[in-house]
Every structure is written in C-alpha cells, then in structure tokens.
Symmetry: D2
Subunit: 366 residues, 4 copies
C-alpha cells in the first residue's frame, strides 16, 4: 500500500491536508453489530483538539466528525465506516512564506525532493492535524476492545522537556492540560511552558502508553510481532523519535536474572517484558514509552536554504504548540488501540476465539 | 499476512524452526539482472553464525545457504529467490524439559496460549536461529543498494551490559568478536563475559545501526514512514526492547532551537533527525540505536509454572550466548537493508527514479 | 484487507451505501504532478449516471464529485485523493419491505447470514451505486495512462438479451443510450427494452472491454497475472457472471495451430491471446468480454422466504434498469483502467521504466 | 506483493523454475492443531503428475514432497509450512533453442521484454510445473475445509477440444486419464488424442469445478467478492482464457424471471447464481467453469521472430501434453480450495464463527 492505510484486518485509510477542504478516514473491517454514533468518537477528538488550553495551538475549530457510512440504525453493519471532518479555520495567509524555503525540522525538504511538488498550507499532508482521523478511528477500536475483552488503553505524560513528571495516579490525567499523572506539578509545568513561549523556543516530551485487561495470544511470531507493530505505530506518530517496550533501554544494563519475568501460580512476578514475549501478548499490562521531539515551528529565526539552495532565514509565525507532545497523548492511545484490534481480528482468523480470561495472569508490577 | 512475510515490494517469506529439517526464505520482487551467487550471501551468514567465538552459542553448523530459484546463469531473473539452509547440528536432547514448563523470558508461555501446541526443540519458531534467513535476504538487499545507490549499511555494539564501548572507528568492528568500534576495550569485554558466564548470568547490549550514501525521498508520508518501518523491523528482532532514530530519547530534553537541524548551501548543519524528516529520508546518514535484553536462557535456576499452573523450577543447560546482542549486529544490518530496498522500490513505483545524488546534502555530523 | 480496497500500489478504498449520506473513495498512490480537477472526473460519472435515458434507473441525482484532498493548485501531490459524492435522491420509502424478505438474485440473504444485520435502503452496500466511486477513480487512472503511454480504454455492448449487436465501429458508442457500436439497431433495441418493461422482466448483456496503446510487460508471472487481475476486477462488478480474455471459451475448440499467435517482424499475426501471454501484456490490444446477468429487481412477483423461513412473495416497485448491463459499460472501462495503472506502477517498482514503444508490435487483428 | 504469494490470511508463496534445483511453496496462516503429513499431500500431487498416462507429458519424476517446517509430531503448529519438491528429471538439452526465438503462445516474448532476461529451461518460471506446489498447498486447504465444514472440492472435464463430454456422475472421474465424468466416451477421447498427436497439433478443454457442503457467508461485499477471487484464481492457472460462475455467459440471454433463484422454506429452487450472491456464498454448491486454451508447444512448425526481430521458424520437440487441460483438473480444485480457506479465515476474523449448517439451504439443482 502507498502508505495511507493502517492495519491489515481493521484498516484505516487516512486522507486530507491541514488546510484542504476536509480530513478524514475510512475504517474497513469493523465487526458488525456494535452500537456506534458520532458521540462515541467526538470525546477523544475533543481531547486532541487544538485550542483547548493556552499551551496548545490556538487554531480553533470544532473538529466535528460526521459518520458517512457503515452504520445503520445506530449499529455497525460490517461495511466501511467513513469519517469526515471539515476544516473550518485555515488562515492560509500564515503559511505563504513556507513555499520558498525549507523549515528546519519539518518535512518541507523531503516532500519537495520526493514529489517535486508540495502543499505548503499548514504543512499540508505532514501536519499533525492528520492524526485527528486516527484518534477518531481509535475511538471505534477502543469501544470494541472494551466491549469484547474489557481492554482499556491509556496514556499520560511522564516528562515535559527537562521536567520529569512524577506518577501519582491515572485519575489525575484527565484533570490537567498536560495529561500529567499528578496535580502537584501543574503550576511548575505552566511556568515552564510560559518561559519557553517567551524564549520563542519549544521542548520535547516523554509519554507512557498502556493497555490493561489484555487478552493473551495477540501478535504474530516472526514479523508483525505485537511489539514490532506497536513500535511501527508509535514511531509513525509525528515527532516521535524513540519507542520502548517494557524495560526498554534499561534492559541493556539488566542481568538475565533480573530481566526475565518469573512465573508463579498467581501470575508473573514482574513485567520487564512490557506484556509481550516472543512478539505475543502475555495478558499482563502492555507497557510502552515514547520520546517526542520538540516542536519544530518556533519563533526564533533559524538558518535554512531556499529552493535554489541559497541561504535563507526562517521565522515561524502563526499558532503552534510549544510542545507537540501534549496533544500526542490521545493520539498514542488511539494508535495502540488500532494495533490491538487488528491483532485481535488476526488471532480470531487463525486461532479462533481470543482468550479474554487467563486466571494465571495477575499482571503483577515490579 | 499471517506474519512470516516481511516487506511490500521486496518481500521475504521466512520459514523453519530451530531444530526442524531446514530454515530458509523466499525473496520475491528482487529486480532482475543483478549478479548473485551463494558467495554473495555466505559472508553475512558467517558473521551471524554461532560457534564463531567462545562468547556465542557453541552450536556448530556451517549454515551453508543454497539458492533454489530466481537465478539463471549467475543473474537474478525477477523470479522469487528461494534460499535454503539445512539444520545439521540439533542435539534435541538438550531441550526435552522445555515442554512441561514455561521458561521465563521466552515465548513458551505465549505460544502455548496462542496456538495450543508448540515445537519445543530449540525454541522452535521463536528461536533466534530464524534470523539467519533474514541475514541471507539482507545480503541480497545490501548488494542491490550498494550497486544502485552506493548505500552502505553497518552496525556496531556501543554498550555491553554495564560496559559502554567507546566509538573509535568503524574499521575496528570486523576485527573483534563483539563487533566493537574500538580495539582497546576487547580484553575488558572478554573478562566481563567470562565473569557473567561463571555467574550463570547474561547481559543486554546496545547497538547503533547506520546507512550511509542514502538517497533522498525514501519513505511514505503518513504510515509506512521510513522511521516507522525501521522501528518495526528493529523491534521485530528477537530480544530488542527499544528503538531510537537520531537523537531518540535525548530529544525529550532538547530545545527546538537545538534539535531542528538547520540547512546550509553545503548541507545540513547537524543530524538530530537521524536522516528522516516527516517519515522520508533526507539523504543524510540514517542513524538508529537499539536496546537488546539479556539472554533469557541462563544456568541460574528460575521460578516458573508448569502446564498445570503448578510451581516449577527451570534450569537451562545446553549452549547459549551470554549476550544475544553480539550476534544481533549483522541481523540489524540486514533488517535495515530490507527496509531500505523495499522503500526504494516503492519510491520508483510512485515517483520514478530514486535521487541518488543530491548535492545539497553533505551529511554533516553534530 | 477486508475487501473495500482495490489495488496494490494505486489503491482505491470505497465507502458508502446506496441511501446513506454519501458515497466516495480514497485513491492512494497516484503519481504526483498530474493536472487534475473535478471536470476530469465528472464526464465518466455522467456516462454512468442513472436517469440519463428511459432505459436506466429513473432515480435522478447529479452525482457531482468533490475532490477533498491530494490536489494542490490543480496538480496531484502524491497524497491520497479523496472523492466525495453526496446522495441527494434517496426515496427510502420504496425499500421498506425489503427488510423482512430476501429478494431473489440479490445479496439480502447472504448479507443477512454473514453480518446478522443489513442496511436495506436501496440495497445498502450491495447496490450498483457503489460503482460510481470506481468510475470516478477510473477516470483518474485513465488520464494518467493516456498521458504516460497513450493507452486508451473503451467498452461497448455486443449483446442485449437475445439481441446480438453488430460491431460497426467505436465512433457509434457515445451516440446512443446502449453504448452500442452501431446506429442501425438502436430502434430495435429500444423496442426490445420496451417489451421487457411491459412484461415486468429484465435481460442480461454482453460487453467487450479493450485497451489500446498498451505497453508491453505489465503483469506478474505467477499470481497477479494481468489477465487474472482483470478477471478479478470484472467478476467483481455487480451482476457479472463470466469473463473471457482473447478467444475465451472459443479457445476450447481451437487447435494449437490456430490459437497460438504467430510473430512476424512487423508484429503478431493474430490476437487470440487477447494481448496477454504468461500473465504479462504483449503490447497488443487487450481484449476482454464479460457476461452480465439480468436485473434481479423486476415487477413480476417472485417466490422467496422471510426472516423466519416462511414462504413470502416479493414484488419489486421503485426504479430499476431493465438491463443493468447498459450502465456497466463505463464501469468496466474504469475497472480495467485501475488494473492497468496498478500494474504499470508495479512494473516501475521492480523493472524500472515501462516500455511504451515496442516497434515489433503492430497489434494485428485476426 | 510482487506476485508469487497467493491469499491474504492463508498465504502460499510459490518459488522455483521448471528445471531449477527445486520448486515449492511456503504456506503461512494454516490454523494450528491439524494432523498433517506428506501422505495427505502426495495424493493430489500424483493426480497432477506428468507421466501418468500416454496423454500427458512423458517427463517422469516422482514429485515427492518434503515438509520442511510448521509441523510438530504430526500436527500443524501455526508456523509456516514449507513444502519442497526437488526437480529430478530435467533434460535441459531439449530446450536450448528456445533462447534465441519466441515460441508462439508462450511467455517467452513477454518475459524477455519485462525482465530483459529469462530462464529458458523448460519455460523457467512460466512452466505449468509451478502449479505443483499449488496442488500441494491445495491439499492442505482441502483437508482443513473437509474437517471443519465438510466442504468438498471437485473438478472434471466436460469438453475436450471439439468433443463434448457428457456428465454421468462424479464417481467416474477418478477412473480415467481424462478426469471425464463418464466411462462410455473414453475410447473416443483416446482416439481423438491420438489423432491430434499424429497431426502434431493440440486442443483446448473445458472443466467444471465445484464445492459442496459450502458454508454460507464466505466472501467480501465489494472487492474480494468470493466469485471475483475465484475468477482471479482460475484465470491465473496457466492457459485458462475464460471463467464462468453459475449460469455464466448463458446469463446474457436469460430473463430476470428465469435467472434469479427463488427461495423456498427448504432451500433455493435453482442455482443459476452458482452459489454466490453479492459476492458472498449462499451455502449452495459453488459452480465454476473454465476454458483452457490448446497447448502452445506443438510439433508443427510455426512462424516467429528471433531476438533481433528477424523471421524465424519454431519447431517444438520434447515432451508436451497435447491438451494441458487434462492435468488442469487437480490444479483447479486446489486453487478453489485455496480461495475458500482464505475466505473462511477472513470471515472468522470479522464475523466470528463460520456458519457450517444453514438448514434453509437445500442446494437444489435446476
């Protein structure tokens, strides 16, 4: 496939540009008979939406999703589900200057060399705006996983630039603009963001993404390993530069006597594996971490070249998140859910019913 | 696909088990007219082969590859290239005990729950031995990339357990059993491995993988990004738990004024991106790092459960690498080469000839 | 893929139901830099459109296509091209009775058993209306094929029910409502259709589909043969029950001395192969024939069963073509064009540039 | 995929050339836990094997299959099943002359233009010998279909050149070298073949292929329709030029009142649909017919051109079937079985368990 379709059996074909008439996706392979309405999708879209706090892009549009097909009298029919989101707030004038020069850290240079033509309006196809349809599709996947297996997907921010964010509990995540798992640091993070904005600079972020209530047996043995597909999905999110499963890079300095999770009659004794052994889910919680680079669009002037290879200075105006990592949280959840539903359907195809209850798995934590 | 085929246009379908009659693969989509013989493949197979030093599995078999198809009078014909490697040294008796218990850190538990049956002989399908056909296929990909674009793929070890390995130069890598980029630390690494072996323990490793002489424009914009496919390929290698592109997790604490690589008339001023922007290659060197967990098979007894969920102790005998990361070096090279050739063919399909020379790219280093 | 995406490298993902809010498709993999506007697509849509003559469905809607993405300043960018067609004339009341019984010859029975739910409005997903997005995508493919290779795709009707239609010339096809290749029979065909309509009955049709200016070398050797993919595409069109390539079923009674097309310095001496040898195009004209069953929706009452398996009588009201084969002509052209562009891109990937001029091919006719 | 892999979830990757060291395939996606041995496969291979009667190629080799992987202690494990058939009787000297000229009706011309290189030994990749691995894979599919659903696949010859073959009963098919469904015509067919051989000529054939005990609900609604995939599979068999489903080309002259199969409480009243409605199986018998062209390799000299485009005469020596259609019978069965198992797995993925018993379906015959 040319790269706009995600998944094998629960496929999501994404279309649109940041400032074109509309963005959206077509979900194919959704099991029939599941209750579904726009309301089931809009919630996650709103979590990702720009303009929700002063720390994210001030571009303000509702991102209202319309279901064009695949649902009859409130239930999925097994036919493709097309989701449409009209672009309403575009301000193309902000982006005219992009066409002549290549913005550092952006896809301008590579798109130009690959295609010989590019849509400069808001970054065109390379804009993080194209994650909105994935969040919408992910909401459909989450609903099915929850109803079928009780699987829940969640993500939060554990580091904002130089600021580590202490994990106090998932209950805090919905209640602050940073998707932070505590309340005590919010003021400090606000101040940190204000300082960055004043400096015309930006910062990166680290997120953890998890799935609980995991079935055992999802994933293929050699390629399309569950962890490999998760790495593919996460690294494919705009600005992500690193992915870890379980102990991740910490595994390098661990001994085999430490890393290998022992088993007991009531479950695993630890979860360094992150819930995947041999590419297949163990039934423990899936544990993923991702690194997100700092926003490339900053007000500080940067050196670049123009279409003729001559030196040029790039100054970015317009509306940009000082940390794209903030809004990456619902995106990462969606992408993980899309990987899981695809593998659940693949498992059903070859091995029959998915094991939703494996009492030997207690999903202990280290 | 059920997970034994890698790639879209240059596909490698892998088959076999560690102790079955044979392992191998079928390469489909190789461009016609390239000179190819077993000799072009055997070299990389020998680099991955067990028994090459006292630090890797002492299992000793030649891993001699036979080309069964796709080559006529020394040239590829465009037909599928089947590669066969017979298993000659199997010692199944070493592995009989595996069938009743689940080895910590291994795929025994997940295969059992997924399939309800598993081949215990040497880990069956989950054995790292199945990487041998990928190394063979990777050698074909490397040859084509070199001849078409002058692209070279290489990897080395930068950390062995707690021991960081200083980078002195690529020229050292072929001359030591650790694929280390220096000579001065080899004695220390030997001692470290001997200590581990005595302790009946194992350690992880960190590798860097690179491609030089990169064309610009490889990769798809949304999914099948070049970096996403690299993450998929690397995380799919046995025991890999983390993948970084360019600055990787260091991006989290970088500012946008630092991370975004500026452009100058003679090329990029830095390479924090790792050679990928917006999922598409910039023409700079590709820079990847991976984390590999410690070998799960160790002589130290470990707690587990048997098929009935009752407590059991697992002691591993037989021949195992104290650090599977050592032999992962040629494997990582092969997987990167397979990603690159696939994207080169995909680029030709949609955009025509690949740009092998982009003078504005000097591939500067930070 | 779950079956709503056509093609490997030039993919068309189709969505919608006959009476939902909209139908459409997403084209992915279109080469960049081609001039494209709605006007390039609307023409073929109008040829397929219902209500264009009294011999086709009187449902009257403009089928106006909107390009939602993938085009910037009138040129394709390489990004997916989403095409949207709003449903404007739906009259759902005509179709209420369908939900309780299974209409003979329709997909009601199979959808019900496969999905346990179905959208009865106008046949929902099984309606021939879903061919409209394929006609739109085919128009994009036709334009690229014409501009790249000078390849032209065309189709006409050679039999309407019991009425054979003499081939006089392609120039007549656009000038009559039957896509017939002559003018002399039009009155007779009109009368035939009127008689069918009075009888509350319907008839089948036979079409030929051709491509001229064919490049040589399109198609894969074993599977994905060009003729196999054409058979797949044609048999996938609603109501098609048979496909022939070249001599087709006539080959059964041909001798080898007759069937095998001899070669001469100025080209092939005949074209019994239909332009394909070993699954690969010869450069001769592609010659395909298809059989289309009679319209299943007829006014004559028919026996069936209801959801409880009890006898029921089905009477169809509402608007239906007495011969669905008429409107299949532009659909068949579109599907052939989609097969050809996909194989052209596949050829570029593995073998490089497509041979657009092979002087040794004169495409002689028997 | 580059065209050597068949199927989506039960994939068969085929490799080899007629006169290379070996041919074979890799089956991926076979459900685990099915008893399987070489003996389950060899039977169908022997039915296809050359040298079994004086009417088929006298090339004599055992076509002994070896299972290289995917089976442990006599049961499938879910891992890929590699099947290897060594080429033992090659006589390359028979084929030397092919390299300079293009044999009419063969793939020589197209392979040469597509790849710029070709393996002339026995037709290389284009030889019907490459159907042997498909017959082997089909035997695995047949076994699973039989055990899961009681589905049986069968084929027979209904016309040999100008000789129609009366259908008396399936029980006759295994008992004559023509796979003919009667005994009374065998002498006449023998005589017909002898006459052809004397004349240095060849003839085509027509086969019917069926599946009984069909589940309801197999097939996808828009593309990957069951009948479309069957057409793809059948047209992909060497020398096939036409495919019909159910009434096929007869549908053209049928009225809607005749063609549309009515339903009754005890099942369908007829089977003009061939067991497929809207691309999905009805549970009736699947009914397919295919046309096979005459063997292209005949002793009668034919006109052609050489590599320089100069006139040349081609005389074929060596061993060839006067009617390739004879041996196509087990091949067609295998390809149908491969389509069915793939769709059964696809159905399980999206819709859950396959309906193996639908009492309302009596599969009446016209």
């Amino acid at each position: 496939m040319p790269g706009s379709t995600f998944g094998l059996l629960f496929t999501v074909t994404n279309f649109g540009e940041s400032h074109g008439p509309a963005i959206g996706c077509v979900i194919d392979g959704c099991p029939p008979g599941m209750a579904l309405s726009e309301a089931d999708i809009q919630g996650d879209l709103d979590r990702r939406r720009p303009g929700t706090s002063r720390h994210v892009t001030q571009r303000n549009e509702p991102d209202a999703v319309e279901i064009l097909s695949g649902v009859y009298e409130g239930k999925t029919t097994g036919a493709p589900i097309a989701l449409l989101i009209r672009n309403t707030d575009q301000r193309s004038k902000d982006y005219g200057n992009i066409l002549q020069t290549f913005r550092p850290g952006h896809a301008d240079y590579t798109y130009w060399h690959k295609y010989g033509i590019r849509d400069p309006r808001g970054g065109g196809r390379s804009s993080a705006r194209l994650t909105a349809p994935m969040v919408a599709a992910g909401a459909v996947a989450k609903k099915w996983l929850r109803e079928q297996f009780g699987t829940e997907v969640r993500a939060c921010m554990t580091q904002l630039g130089e600021q580590p964010i202490a994990f106090e509990g998932w209950e805090h995540v919905p209640n602050n603009p940073f998707f932070a798992p505590n309340v005590s640091q919010i003021d400090a993070l606000e101040a940190y963001m204000d300082e960055l904005r004043k400096a015309g600079d930006s910062c990166g972020a680290k997120l953890i993404v998890e799935a609980t209530g995991m079935p055992v047996g999802l994933g293929e043995p050699l390629f399309d390993k569950l962890d490999a597909d998760i790495a593919y999905a996460m690294m494919g999110i705009n600005a992500v530069k690193g992915v870890e499963i379980g102990a991740g890079f910490e595994s390098v300095t661990q001994r085999g006597t430490v890393h290998g999770d022992e088993l007991f009659p009531d479950g695993f004794g630890s979860n360094h594996s992150g819930g995947v052994l041999g590419g297949i889910s163990t039934g423990q919680d899936l544990r993923v971490a991702i690194a997100i680079k700092p926003t490339s669009s900053i007000r500080t002037p940067r050196q670049s070249i123009d279409l003729n290879g001559q030196p040029a200075t790039v100054e970015t105006f317009g509306r940009h998140d000082p940390c794209v990592g903030i809004r990456a949280t619902p995106i990462a959840e969606a992408m993980l859910a899309l990987v899981l539903i695809d593998h659940a359907l693949r498992h059903r195809a070859q091995c029959g019913d998915v094991q939703v209850d494996t009492p030997k798995i207690a999903a202990h934590r280290p």
